[in-house]
Subunit: 121 residues, 2 copies
């Protein structure tokens, strides 16, 4: 079976803790990232955990973008699942990095259906 | 940095197309899977794509469970992100496999924060 989708995992370090703790900032960043990638947003859900952290999920026509933030570590983890080659998932991750004030971000792309791990760099 | 979370990717093949096409069946399966894993469901969002396929996302206190289905291929891809060692993500995947009538399912677990790919088997 050829890959039906691609799954891009992104991690953001050295982020601004205040931005990671704000459901509004995270929600705006997620919607902007989904749109910047060329995807069509169909639904979204953001949840603020007490005392810290935000989980955000955006369903797009092409699949989903999700994020979890750890303000206390200046860290966030995102994943973008897409079944369309027209979606620029790397662009979404770069926009998230900028909006969250990340000092660095790393990404790893996997093929889905069948599940394939890329070779180690 | 030690891993802040674990991300279990699951793929389901040879599923019952009628179940994969039903937003109700997929939603019930996702909620049952999250609960069976020991997680606490805080919000959920399921979307039915026309003409085929369902995207489901469940936010749990411990992070998220997401799924995308391809009824035309009898295939579904899920991912479970958890920041709690008490969550049994493999149990959730096994329950999804049973509910979706999968003939087989495979999983791959990654550490998140920092992103680490496991060695190839």
């Amino acid at each position: 079976m050829n890959p039906l989708g691609h799954h891009l995992l992104g991690e953001f370090t050295g982020c601004d803790p205040a931005r990671l703790a704000s459901p509004e900032v995270v929600r705006e960043a997620m919607l902007a990232a989904a749109r910047a990638s060329g995807a069509t947003v169909v639904a979204e859900l953001h949840h603020h955990f007490s005392p810290l952290g935000v989980s955000g999920m955006v369903v797009v026509s092409e699949s989903h973008l999700a994020i979890h933030t750890w303000p206390e570590h200046g860290f966030a983890a995102a994943d973008y699942f897409s079944c369309s080659p027209r979606v620029d998932m790397a662009c979404a991750m770069a926009l998230l990095a900028e909006r969250l004030g990340a000092r660095a971000h790393t990404t790893l792309e996997l093929q889905r259906g069948p599940l394939q791990v890329p070779p180690r760099p």
